[in-house]
């Protein structure tokens, strides 16, 4: 609706007022927000994140970083393990964690260590109510007996090493006797698993 006002000189000023309902104001507010850039990060509390159309919340959508993979045992710990290199990279997208490992030992003292070879130090435990996730160890070097696969255990940040005794054989756990105490045991692995 137009309003009219008569000015001192006799001219008539016509004013068209626009009325915005709440929905329009919200839309305008959102449009203004999307047209602006934030000058700082949005920091959500643990367990909070972004949800699209009421779907699952992305609590950690695309985070990347590093971790330090380790050689451990399923039983009594090794006396000491030193590394030539010990590098891990990860990327978390939603509830999926992708990782790369590049690791080489330089000296191992078994001491009172017992059990089988386990790789530890993963950045986040796998989903507690999840499944065992197997990944291929596509590169290995200098082992007395080389690991062929890695089985990440639900709810833990560890994965047991497995090997194939012969072509077509079932996977078998790898006793710590497989470790080469002198030359560096090397693995390079790429894999992924679900997290809580």
């Amino acid at each position: 609706m137009a309003e009219q006002q008569t000015l001192d000189n006799g001219d008539v000023l016509s004013i068209q007022r626009a009325k915005l309902n709440n929905n329009a104001l919200d839309a305008l507010s959102q449009a203004r927000t999307t047209a602006q850039s934030l000058a700082s990060d949005l920091d959500f509390a643990v367990g909070k994140g972004v949800s699209f159309d009421g779907g699952d919340v992305f609590g950690s959508y695309e985070e990347f970083g590093t971790f330090s993979p380790t050689v451990e045992t399923s039983g009594v710990a090794l006396d000491s393990v030193a590394y030539s290199f010990q590098a891990g990279n990860y990327c978390i997208i939603g509830k999926r964690l992708f990782f790369d490992i590049q690791m080489r030992t330089s000296a191992i003292t078994i001491g009172s260590g017992t059990g089988n070879v386990v790789f530890g130090g993963f950045p986040v435990p796998s989903k507690a109510a999840g499944v065992f996730v197997a990944g291929a160890i596509s590169y290995r070097d200098n082992w007395t007996t080389s690991p062929d696969a890695l089985l990440i255990s639900p709810g833990t940040s560890k994965g047991a090493a497995y090997y194939y005794a012969s072509a077509g054989a079932d996977s078998t756990t790898l006793a710590i006797a497989a470790l080469n105490l002198g030359l560096g045991n090397t693995i390079r692995v790429t894999g992924s698993y679900f997290i809580d």
Binding site: V46, G47, T66, P125, G155
Partner: protein, 66 residues
Amino acid sequence: MTKYSTYTTPLGVVCVKETTDGKNHRRTVEPGDDYANDTAVVKAACIKAHTPEVISAYEAHKAEAI
């Protein structure tokens, strides 16, 4: 300066994210691990999470899972 943030999984594993100059590094402290020399933030999380019952249950879980 490093910023530490932690959360605890249903099985009691304390997940630690260390952010230094915008770069993330993650690690975990499992029930039964020694955290005596860790930072105050991590120690506090572990003291709260790693009760004897949780440690015992996690050891049993590992015995089955690993």
